[in-house]
Symmetry: C2
Subunit: 515 residues, 2 copies
């Protein structure tokens, strides 16, 4: 074990691989890992014949998948996804074992995989998870080493070859028999295929899985035939009703509205809310309420923004259509309005996870962000943020783009209620560090606003505007006065997961909780 | 020297590199060359600051270009291109020497480079040329080893790393300060950037050169910021009037019209002219006349084609807009109507040269072609085709997509007058083999049609239709009866160029002519 720069104990090896402890947000380079080249196997196919097989099982066999290999899927169908569950069932039926999953994310619906993990069909997760799988792993009830990566970090790991994907099984909502596809149209349309674009380009074998085979050519092309090995047809990719996220409504909760109002004030005070403004929010009700304020200010002041970014909602689509942004960079569509827009408006740009947030290239889109609204399960007095575990110590959430966006944006704003379920959200220490405090600008709670030391001008301006700016330790004290100091979760020494920072270093670990 | 399978003498090494003689159209695999991986250097840029430098000279310095390195440009601006000429002048002014050019093509306007070749600034051409440079090389008047590659072969050589490009200088008609660009809009709009897309992805350094810097982000993105190192601003990328090809009018010449009519009959007789038909022609007057007949037949029979492909003209745009094709695959726009269309219609798909015709991937678009119209400077009795040299022995033309399309299309149709300038176009032997006869289906002249042995059903159908089908030797004899047998060009033993087949093997050489 070695301590990283944030004081967290990091094992030198995990599940047979060695890792480097986290140092700082920006100094790590590809050379640090000897990852100097992205690469992909070259092949030759001179036949113009279709590549269609009629089932997932045939596709698995044709792909050459073997014991010990790594597969991936993308999570654009979110909790409506059927593909990963069906795939693992077929892999089991074929007698394959010791398969690693390196999907872009795993959702609650994939709790169906648990029996296959117990059975040894799946033996490692090279990706973060939402829900029961992570919970059971961190309870010590499920043996499955897990490495949690951000969206940008995952793109990096695939592109650099750190996590070689043997076969990518990519849900392809609008696909032709030679393997051209997009996600814009069809019964399982999910819009942007941002995460899948990386796998399509770097996996050793690519299987396009579709429930909607259309006449050649499927245009416009998001993933092209020249990188697709096999097309597999299935009855359904998933449940379209659950494909879109449901958390896309503005909050009506008064506390949430107060937080949103403060966050909007922070954005206004930052000085970036002018022509050329760029902005990212998530889907939470508070985030959308902030976006509402931002839209109103842009309208009132006739501001023409540069771009909106991230997972895209109908709210941002309306802002684009209204002319408030030049364009949208979309790594995943969060609702059907976004899906409809990306299929018609070329200023609504599909963006790969690599372009979005991979740190190892000539400049990700997050680098150009002015202000970003991010969430938290916990924040500590050094501005470190946890989004992976809850205060119970259970691994319940994937990182998403959290540390990527905080790293890139000029002002990253964490919005969070001060208290959740009687537990303090601002604390001495977070249970797990997802995002280093050095990359966090402002913490906004309904009880006050804490500004990090690297933004003194913003702090002064907020004080001038008479919003309740507080030292983060003062904010913690006020919260503790209500909740009491939180009891530390008791962990065993057993490391069952790593939290990887976007640059590939390890920022924290997940250990099993002690009952 | 070793004889390849077509009987041409091939040197084992050329300009310090070793080469493999041509064997056949399909058996060569990436493994033959130990090119098993495509690759690109990984970098880290976490700054969101613009990448703009104010001149080509600053860009060259910033790129780190050194003596002995290889540069590339793309030829979408064709004979209106100013960039390559300006670039080489600046390279000379900086005192750099021994630079290799691996552009997608070099045009007549680049005769300006000749003094810099003489001076040792440019010492090799890893690409084909049109016009004076090739002429002088094949006359022995200019020392500059040249390897001529097809569009697909060039993509292969760049992607596989066979020809590593140190710095790509890519004309970027619509570009933002962080390096996103497309070719759709602006004073130098050229539409598709098909050839440049390969360089952008695989060159070690990428410089976007623009005369039209637009607010960030430049959408839609053809080349993205994450693979662009430097943005250089210049006054002008070229002369827009010469950017578009002028050979985009239907022929009015009676002989050309006769050839076009026969070629259309061949297409009709092929059995492929039905729903799902796919088609490629070039820009020549005869090709367009064939396209006219095809359009009329499709209209009359209510045929919905699959796709049109290649360099795209307004003629194909009209066919798309009329609903005669599902879509267009566009590697380069040949006129302003095509430029305008690709910027508005997503069924008009920009296509990289790799997707178009690289043989080393999971399937190029040429593989899906039913019928293609191709030109020739000479044809021999084994159906081998020359498009590189003329009967004078002078290297005057680049290969373009000729051998790629012949390799991929089900029926490749060579249209050619039987006699040009009193010289026979069908001969015992072609001066230079560009495209092997095995991949050529039909030769159409005004004097008769020759069908290759691998298409017996087509031959029978054409005979049934009472068009003048002739054995190719008979066709040669009839032509020789008018012109006499051609005097063989006398060559020296000095090999000054190689003609590379799309798979990387050498199909022929260029030797200097003896005066």
């Amino acid at each position: 074990m070695a301590k990283n720069s944030l004081g967290r104990e990091i094992p030198e090896t995990f599940n047979g691989k060695s890792y480097i402890p986290y140092t700082d947000p920006h100094s790590i380079k590809p050379e640090t890992f000897h990852f100097q080249r992205a690469s992909r196997v070259l092949k030759r196919n001179y036949s113009g014949a279709g590549k269609v097989v009629g089932s997932l099982r045939e596709a698995i066999v044709a792909s050459g998948l073997k014991d010990g290999m790594t597969i991936s899927t993308h999570h654009h169908l979110r909790n409506g996804d059927r593909l990963l569950n069906d795939l693992v069932k077929e892999i089991d039926a074929l007698g394959l074992r010791d398969i690693k999953i390196a999907s872009s994310s795993v959702h609650i619906v994939h709790a169906e995989l648990i029996p296959y993990i117990r059975k040894g069909v799946i033996t490692a997760l090279e990706c973060g998870v939402n829900g029961p799988i992570g919970e059971q792993i961190s309870r010590g009830e499920l043996e499955c080493p897990i490495v949690v990566r951000s969206h940008g970090g995952r793109a990096r790991s695939v592109i650099s070859g750190e996590v070689p994907i043997d076969v990518a099984f990519l849900a392809a909502p609008y696909c032709d028999e030679y393997g051209n596809f997009n996600g814009f149209y069809g019964p399982s349309a999910c819009g942007s295929l941002g995460y899948a674009l990386v796998d399509a380009q770097y996996a050793r074998k690519v299987v396009a899985v579709t429930d909607n085979l259309v006449p050649f050519p499927a245009l416009p092309i998001s993933v092209a035939q020249n990188i697709v090995d096999i097309v597999a047809t299935v009855d359904s990719l998933g449940d379209p009703k659950k494909i879109v996220s449901s958390t896309t409504k503005l909050t009506k909760d008064p506390m949430g509205l107060q937080i949103a109002k403060y966050a909007a004030t922070v954005i206004d005070a930052s000085g970036y809310l002018k022509n050329g403004f760029s902005f990212q929010t998530g889907t939470g009700g508070i985030s959308l309420a902030v976006a509402g304020h931002v839209r109103d200010m842009m309208r009132a002041r006739k501001i023409k923004g540069s771009f909106g970014c991230g997972g895209i909602t109908g709210f941002f689509v309306d802002m684009l259509d209204e002319g408030l942004f030049e364009g949208l960079f979309d790594v995943q569509c969060f609702d059907l309005k976004a899906v409809e827009s990306i299929g018609r408006n070329r200023k609504h740009q599909e963006m790969s996870a690599g372009l979005y947030a991979n740190p190892f290239n000539m400049g990700a889109v997050v680098n150009r962000l002015d202000c970003a609204i991010l969430s938290a399960t916990e924040i500590d007095v050094n501005f470190n943020v946890n989004v992976n575990t809850e205060s119970s110590g259970l691994l319940l959430h994937n990182t998403g783009g959290h540390c990527d966006v905080a790293n890139g944006a000029k002002v990253s704003i964490i919005v969070c209620p001060s208290i959740r379920g009687r537990l303090p959200m601002v604390r001495d220490e977070v249970t797990t560090i997802t995002t280093p405090g050095e990359t966090v600008g402002v913490v906004v709670t309904e009880r006050g606003i804490a500004v990090n030391d690297h933004l003194p001008a913003l702090k002064a301006e907020l004080i001038r505007r008479r919003v309740p700016v507080k030292d983060i330790r003062q904010l913690r004290d006020e919260i503790y006065a209500v909740t009491g100091a939180p009891k530390p979760v008791e962990f065993t020494d057993k490391v069952v997961g790593l939290i990887e920072y976007l640059d590939g270093t390890i920022i924290d670990t997940v250990r099993t909780i002690r009952d």
